[in-house]
Each structure stands twice: as structure tokens, then as C-alpha cells.
């Protein structure tokens, strides 16, 4: 099992390396000169040249790439072209804020999704199942910003005015110091992510409930609760983990829209700003960050698959 996980890990490392090359090459192709962007239109050629020298912009591509890659390993993401400050310092708070949002959304949507999906499968064809599948289908069909706007209308502007619709943290304080501001963004993300988890969970659970070993467990006199938890769930989880991974990975990118909608000071906003300002270093850092989230969540899903399948663990399947 350890061997399998190590193999997946090394594959992930290779993928990240390839992504880093693509990101670097892609940002090189962007129009504009970082030195010009930092100093502005009035900068003298001498000052531009000096800054280029300082930022190693005159070195060959390969050398610049290796320098940048080396920096990634020690947490040095370079210098922001727009602000002149360190990228790491600029993004630190933003990343923390976004991670809070994602973690909360995941912590709510995964268990609730699995529960509702299982409930739906157990009540197949009855009213509860129809309600759950119907609602999740509608939610899955709505774009994230529509859900966000609907929630704002419902809870903070037109119908009830109980929750804040924008995030405003005074400088120096963190977003999570104001929990009520987190409710709507988190709720939006939950409603976007959860339908897929519910539907996948329902499908795999129905399949597992029809299997021979579940019937056998019932014929052994195992109480229904234990049949579900011990015999059915472990088999239904692995395919759902893949869907959860895709959803979480989507969150890393999809969070941009939701953050923009609620003026939430996370990486999404930072990315939008960085692209507008041609802040190459920040774009590179964020692109790598989002790629890393993709790779990590997929790796986690694979590990869940390996742990729940003894055939993989004991090398029954090669």
C-alpha cells in the first residue's frame, strides 16, 4: 500500500513540475515588461535597466526558470510587480482567507452530501428520494453566481435583511473574526458543490445496496444500520471521493467568482487584480497554488480509493 501511495506521490510531483514549466512559459508570453509595470511610464531607461538587472530579467530563460523554481521550494515567490513587496507576504492572508472558505464549504458539503445521497438511495423511488434528486438537479444546473445572487436577495437585501452581503474586515483583522460575513459565501459554495456529491453518492449507493454482499449481510441477520455503515458505505465511498476531489479542485478555481461576488478578500480577488495589473509574479504564484490544490485533492481521493479497496492494498490488481 505504501508503495502505491509513494508511486502516486511521485507522479504528482512530476505533474507539478510540468505545470510549473507551462505556467512559467505562459507568463513569459504575456505582453508587457514587469520592470515597466513597476516603475510606470515615466521611468528612465537607466532605471528600467537597473531594475531588470535586479530582478534577473536579463538572464536566459532556463536560468530564470530554475531560479524561480528554486524560490518556490523555500517559499520565495518573488517580488510583486504591482506593489513592489514580496508575493508571499502579499498573498499570505489571502490564501488563509480562501482556505477558510474552502475548508468550511468542504466540511459541510461532504458529510451532508454523503448523508443525503445515502438517504436518497435507501428511499429509492419514494417522496424523499424524488425531493432530494429533484432539488440537487436544479442546483446543479444553476451557475454559482446565480445561486449567490439569489441568496443575497433572499437573506440580505430584498426579502430578509439578516446577513451581510459583502465582506468588510478592517485592516489588521482577519475575515473569520466576523463569522456572520462568512455564512453567505460558504453557503453558496456548499450549494454549488453538494448536488454532485449527492447524485454520485446516490448512484453508487444504489449499486452497492443491490450487491450480493449486502444481501448476504442482511441474510446473516446483521441490523440494517450496521449493513449500511459497515458493508455498504465503504464500497460506495471510493467513487464519491473522486467526485469530491473534482469538486474541491473546482473550488480552488471557482472560488474566484464567489469571492468577487461577496467582495471576499481571498486568492480569487487577488488573481483578478493581478491579471488586471499585469502582476506576473503573483499570477505565477497563484497558478501554481491552484495546480497544487488540484493535485493534492486528487491524490487524497486516490488514497481513499486505495484504503477502501483491499485488492489494491494487497496487490490483487496490478
Amino acid at each position: 500500500m505504501l508503495g502505491l501511495i509513494l508511486r502516486r506521490l511521485s507522479i504528482s510531483a512530476v505533474i507539478l513540475l510540468i505545470v510549473s514549466m507551462l505556467v512559467f512559459v505562459a507568463t513569459l508570453l504575456l505582453p508587457g515588461d514587469p520592470a515597466q509595470a513597476i516603475l510606470g511610464q515615466q521611468a528612465t531607461p537607466e532605471r528600467l535597466e537597473a531594475l531588470r538587472e535586479q530582478m534577473n530579467l536579463n538572464d536566459p530563460f532556463a536560468q530564470r526558470y530554475l531560479h524561480w523554481l528554486g524560490g518556490l521550494f523555500v517559499g520565495d515567490f518573488g517580488v510583486s510587480a504591482a506593489s513592489g513587496g514580496s508575493v508571499a507576504a502579499l498573498l499570505g492572508d489571502r490564501i488563509a482567507a480562501s482556505l477558510v472558505l474552502m475548508a468550511l464549504a468542504a466540511a459541510i458539503s461532504i458529510p451532508v452530501g454523503i448523508l443525503v445521497g445515502t438517504y436518497s438511495a435507501l428511499r429509492r423511488g419514494r417522496a424523499g428520494d424524488h425531493a432530494a434528486t429533484g432539488i440537487s438537479l436544479v442546483l446543479a444546473a444553476l451557475p454559482d453566481f446565480v445561486i449567490g445572487i439569489a441568496l443575497v436577495t433572499l437573506f440580505s437585501t430584498t426579502v430578509f435583511t439578516v446577513l451581510p452581503s459583502v465582506t468588510m474586515a478592517p485592516p489588521g483583522e482577519q475575515v473569520w473574526d466576523y463569522p456572520s460575513q462568512l455564512i453567505l459565501p460558504v453557503l453558496t459554495l456548499v450549494l454549488v458543490v453538494m448536488p454532485y456529491i449527492i447524485r454520485m453518492m446516490r448512484t453508487t449507493m444504489i449499486e452497492v445496496l443491490d450487491s450480493g454482499y449486502v444481501e448476504m449481510a442482511r441474510l446473516k441477520g446483521v441490523p440494517e444500520r450496521q449493513v449500511i455503515v459497515r458493508h455498504a458505505l465503504p464500497h460506495a465511498i471510493a467513487p464519491v471521493a473522486q467526485v469530491v476531489a473534482i469538486q474541491l479542485a473546482w473550488l480552488a478555481g471557482g472560488i474566484v467568482v464567489v469571492e468577487f461576488l461577496f467582495r471576499y478578500p481571498g486568492v480569487g480577488q487577488a488573481l483578478v487584480d493581478a491579471v488586471t495589473n499585469r502582476d506576473v509574479q503573483v499570477v505565477q504564484a497563484l497558478a501554481m497554488l491552484i495546480a497544487a490544490v488540484y493535485v493534492v485533492v486528487n491524490l487524497l481521493a486516490d488514497i481513499v480509493g486505495i484504503v477502501t479497496n483491499p485488492k489494491l492494498r494487497t496487490g490483487g490488481i496490478r
Binding site: K220, G221, V222, R230, K311, T314, G316, R318
Partner: protein, 554 residues
């Protein structure tokens, strides 16, 4: 191996007028009654769809999704009606005093639980013994009872680390762990090869007799019935049509259906001729032709002694796992060769290599003196026509969205030289050869029974008039009476068209009914080959001898 205990017949379970219907109200069990007695085994015999599994599961108070109990009782030895109990009450009995052995252990053991844990679960749920230690001891004991090792390392194995026979023993151990009064066994040896089947049957017999368990043995295999059962109940379309002592029912059947079933069972000795059966289930075409009394397949009139198909040093391995270790045989024109082997012997792989469906083999396959390329894509259209293949399962080998006519026509499209009219004529001719009426041309596989589908699949192979027909376990998914009619059909076709046949099977009992020559395959090698009678009467290899001693016979 049967012991008749005439005295002390204590009733353990009594099913009376059991009626089960679908959710839509269609009754599928029409008042079934039987009695299970301690230390005795009742065999419930019937073909697929006869309701035997439904009746067996009703003894556990269990009805599959979409079925409901509409009448009748299942009384236990203390007089309680199992079907009147609450869900919780039934659950307390299941796996405890009434247990179940499933048909396919590979599907019924939880792949994500260690086997020891799965058996322990029964003991825990029903509260066996006073302590965990007592349960541990019972676990070790019951593993010994079914003839498995009982050490801790074995208990920690996963189901996929066991062979099919061992998995089924675990299933039996699980059913036997709580010392049940009644054991319901649903075709527990289907899918096992004869040697393993003999061992499992022996285990079951021992448990039932030494521990005075009342057994219900559900099966379609009458030969197995004669080995294990004291009494037999024959089911047809949701009714028991004949019931009695097994030697009486098997040797002096009263009901016409029982006689038909018995006539359809292939016997190793080839005493009677299978295939002269009329339709016994559903809309199966009637196959009854005048035929000699003996089943012995006549030695073919070989016009030319030259071999048609020649296989030399066929080898194939998947990674380090060698499946075929050098197979050589010759097949003459118009000759039928049976390739006999247990699961994993490489028989299907060999058949696929001959047809070019596996192209990674080494060695040679030659047809009429020409060495063929390994894969179908490299073979010419003419070469492909001449070797046709019929697959095991007619359920998956016919495209469900195409009509039978369209499916049968496909090989003709591939040759591309026929007009629409000619194609239709050829399709009709092929359907006629397999005794399907012309009206089948526009039906879809979903509207056909298993036997009719297999006929259609054979028609598809015949439409190009092949020289060699490769049949891969074509009857193993079918009921005995349908199997008999298909065997009869293949025999007729072989005589009429003069084509050569390679018949792949694990069922040695079919040998004398079908093939002039028999090749016994073991671990990727042919260990015995020769005229069928010679091999069966004078086996050269110890494996063939072992196989022959384990064949259950009526």
C-alpha cells in the same frame, strides 16, 4: 454418500401454501409447500425462473426488492410463523437458527472485510457465547469444520486471496457458525469445477448429518441432487410438481416435467440421447427429430485424412503468468473436438487464439495448411469467414439494439459481395438451420429466451458457412433442457454441414454427447487427447482420472 435416517424425523421448518407476488400483483409462487427435517436434505430442483430461489429465501423471511409475500406460512419447530414476525424478529432468526449459503461466494463475500471478521460478525450479531474469546474459539472451530485452516493468518485473509472453492467454504462456515437448525443453500456449487464441487458437497453432507441440521438445497443440477439429497421437490413455474424420496423421483419420475428434465441431463456414460426434449419452459422451439437411441456420436466420415486446423506449440502469457504452455492438436474435416478444462486451465484463451481474438500468442495456428496471422485484423476476410466463434453468454454477445436479422447479417456485410436480397435469403437460411422461425428476423434479443438467443448467435456464426466453428462454453449459461436442445442442434449441424467444431467446456458429462475426440486441458497443457471413448475409459493422465472420479452422476 447419502445416509437415510428413517427414524426420528423431526420437523424443523414447514412451509405451507407459500404465495409470493411481484409489486404489480403478478403471482410467481403459487402455493408452495414443503417440510424440512433435521439431519435430512431436501433438494428444490427447477430451471431458471421456476421460483426456487424465491421459495428458499422465503424460508428466511426475506423477499427480494419488488417481491412481496401474499399468503402462506413458514412455521418453525416451535410453531411460530416466521412470516408473521416483525422485521426485527426475522432478523434475529436469519443467520442464527436459519442460515443461508449464497450461490456465488465471489459476489456474496464482502470484498473489503477479512473473512474472519465476516464470520465473527454473525456470532457477534446473534450474541454467540459469553465472551469474545468464546466467539474466537467458535470461529476457529467452524473453519476446521468446513475443512479450512483456522490459524490467525488465514482468518485475516481477504476474500480475493482465496480460491472459489475456499470462498464457498467460508460462505458455508458463515452459515454454520451459529449452529443453525435450518440451512438454505442456493446452488452453492454452481461455478465450481467438479473436483472442488465434490469436496464442497462432502463438507455440506457431513455438516447436515453429524449436526442434525435440516437442509434445503436449491439447484438445477439433477446429478448433484442424487449425491446430496434425501428428498426432492421439483419446481415448475412457481409450483411444486413432484415431491418424494430422491431415489424414487430420480429413478421412477411420475410427472412428465421431471422425466423431461432427467432426459435432458447429459451423462458421462452416454447411455441415453439428450436433446430429444420438447419445449419445457416458455416459448422454446420444439426439437424432436428421429434419432438413434444411443448418444454415441458416430465417427465422422472423414473424406480426406488431412487435418483442417492445426495448432502447434501455442503459448501465451500475461506478464509472468503463463496461461498456455504449448498446445498442439490437429482437427480433421468434419471432426468435433472437445477442449475440456476447469476454470483457469486456459481453454477459453486457446479458443480465442484459434479465432484470432487473442493476438499475443506465440506458436502457430494453421488452417488447411496455411499458417494464419495471430490477430483477426491481419487475417484475410476469407480466413476470418472460415473460423467462426460462438460466445458463452448469448445475453451479452448479441447487440440488444439490433434485430436478430441485423445481427446475423453482420458477417455478410463484412464480405460485402451480396445484394440486400441475397443477404436476407442467407439470413433466413441460417435461422432455419438453427431451427428459428423466419419471424425471428425482426425481433430483438430482449424478446428472446436464453436458448433462442444462443441459437441466433449460432446462426450468426453459420451464415458464412465456416469450416471451423469454435464454441466457447455455449451451454454453460443455459438450463439443462435448453442445453440439451442446443447440443442436439450442434450435433445435427455438424453432420449436415460437415464443418469441424472445437467445443470448449468444463462439463465432462457432455463429452460423449458431442465430440469424437476429447482433449483434456490442465494448467495450459493438453494432458490427455484422443478419441472420446478412449480418453474416458482409459485415461492416461492422473488429472483426467481424478476428474472422472469426481463427476456426479444420477
Amino acid at each position: 454418500m447419502r445416509t437415510l435416517i428413517e427414524q426420528q424425523t423431526e420437523v424443523a421448518l414447514q412451509a405451507t401454501d407459500l404465495r409470493v407476488a411481484t409489486a404489480l400483483g403478478k403471482e410467481i409462487l403459487h402455493g408452495v409447500s414443503f417440510t424440512l427435517q433435521r439431519g435430512r436434505m431436501l433438494a428444490l430442483v427447477g430451471e431458471s425462473g421456476s421460483g426456487k430461489t424465491t421459495a428458499g429465501l422465503a424460508c428466511l423471511g426475506y423477499f427480494r426488492t419488488g417481491l412481496k409475500h401474499v399468503g402462506g406460512t413458514v412455521e418453525l419447530s416451535d410453531g411460530t410463523d416466521l412470516l408473521a414476525l416483525t422485521d426485527a424478529g426475522r432478523r434475529g432468526l436469519r443467520g442464527g437458527s436459519i442460515s443461508y449459503v449464497p450461490q456465488d461466494p465471489a459476489l456474496s463475500l464482502n470484498p473489503a472485510m477479512r473473512i474472519g471478521t465476516q464470520i465473527m460478525e454473525v456470532l457477534r450479531v446473534h450474541g454467540y457465547g459469553a465472551s469474545e474469546q468464546a466467539r474466537r474459539n467458535r470461529l476457529a472451530e467452524v473453519l476446521t469444520d468446513v475443512g479450512l485452516p483456522n490459524d490467525a493468518a488465514y482468518q485475516r485473509r481477504w476474500p480475493h486471496e482465496l480460491s472459489g472453492g475456499q470462498q464457498q467454504r467460508v460462505g458455508i462456515a458463515m452459515a454454520f457458525a451459529f449452529r443453525p437448525e435450518v440451512m438454505v443453500m442456493d446452488e452453492p456449487t454452481t461455478g465450481l469445477d467438479v473436483t472442488t464441487q465434490a469436496l464442497v458437497l462432502q463438507t455440506i453432507h457431513q455438516l447436515v448429518t453429524t449436526h442434525a441440521v435440516a437442509g434445503l438445497y436449491i439447484t438445477h443440477d439433477l446429478a448433484v441432487v442424487s449425491e446430496v439429497a434425501d428428498e426432492v421437490a421439483v419446481m415448475l413455474a412457481g409450483r411444486i410438481v413432484e415431491q418424494g424420496r430422491s431415489d424414487q423421483v430420480l429413478h421412477d419420475p411420475q410427472h412428465a416435467y421431471t422425466r423431461k428434465l432427467l432426459n435432458a441431463v447429459p451423462d458421462l456414460a452416454g447411455r441415453h440421447h439428450i436433446g430429444e426434449v420438447e419445449a419445457v419452459t416458455g416459448a422454446m422451439p420444439i426439437v424432436s427429430r428421429e434419432r438413434a437411441a444411443s448418444a454415441r456420436v458416430a465417427t465422422p466420415v472423414v473424406a480426406e485424412p488431412t487435418s483442417l486446423l492445426s495448432v502447434a506449440d501455442l503459448r501465451l502469457s500475461y506478464g509472468t503468468n503463463a496461461v498456455l504452455n504449448g498446445i498442439d492438436f490437429e482437427l480433421g474435416r468434419g471432426e468435433s473436438l472437445m477442449l475440456l478444462g476447469e476454470s483457469g486451465s486456459g481453454k477459453t484463451t486457446a479458443a480465442r487464439c484459434i479465432a484470432g481474438l487473442n493476438d499475443t500468442y506465440t506458436g502457430s495456428v494453421s488452417l488447411a495448411g496455411t499458417t494464419l496471422q495471430p490477430g483477426t485484423r491481419q487475417r484475410s476476410a476469407e480466413e476470418r469467414h472460415r473460423i467462426q466463434y460462438v460466445f458463452q453468454s448469448p445475453m451479452s454477445s448479441l447487440n440488444p439494439r439490433r434485430t436478430i436479422g441485423e445481427s446475423v447479417e453482420v458477417p455478410l456485410h463484412m464480405s460485402g459481395t451480396f445484394s440486400r436480397k441475397e443477404r436476407r435469403a442467407l439470413v433466413l437460411e441460417a435461422l432455419d438451420q438453427v431451427q428459428l422461425a423466419a419471424s425471428f428476423i425482426d425481433r430483438r434479443p430482449g424478446q428472446l429466451s436464453g436458448g433462442e438467443r444462443q441459437r441466433a448467435a449460432i446462426a450468426r456464426a453459420l451464415v458464412n458457412a465456416p469450416s471451423v466453428l469454435v464454441c466457447d462454453e455455449v451451454t454453460s449459461a443455459l438450463d439443462v433442457s435448453v442445453q440439451a436442445s442446443i447440443i442436439d442442434l450442434l450435433r445435427t449441424l455438424q453432420v449436415e454441414t460437415g464443418m469441424a467444431m472445437v467445443f470448449v467446456t468444463h462439463n465432462i458429462a457432455l463429452a460423449r454427447h458431442l465430440s469424437q475426440r476429447l482433449a483434456v486441458l490442465h494448467a495450459g497443457r493438453i494432458v490427455d487427447i484422443g478419441p472420446t471413448d478412449d480418453v474416458l475409459e482409459n485415461p492416461q493422465h492422473s488429472y483426467t482420472r481424478e476428474l472422472l472420479t469426481h463427476v456426479p452422476t444420477l
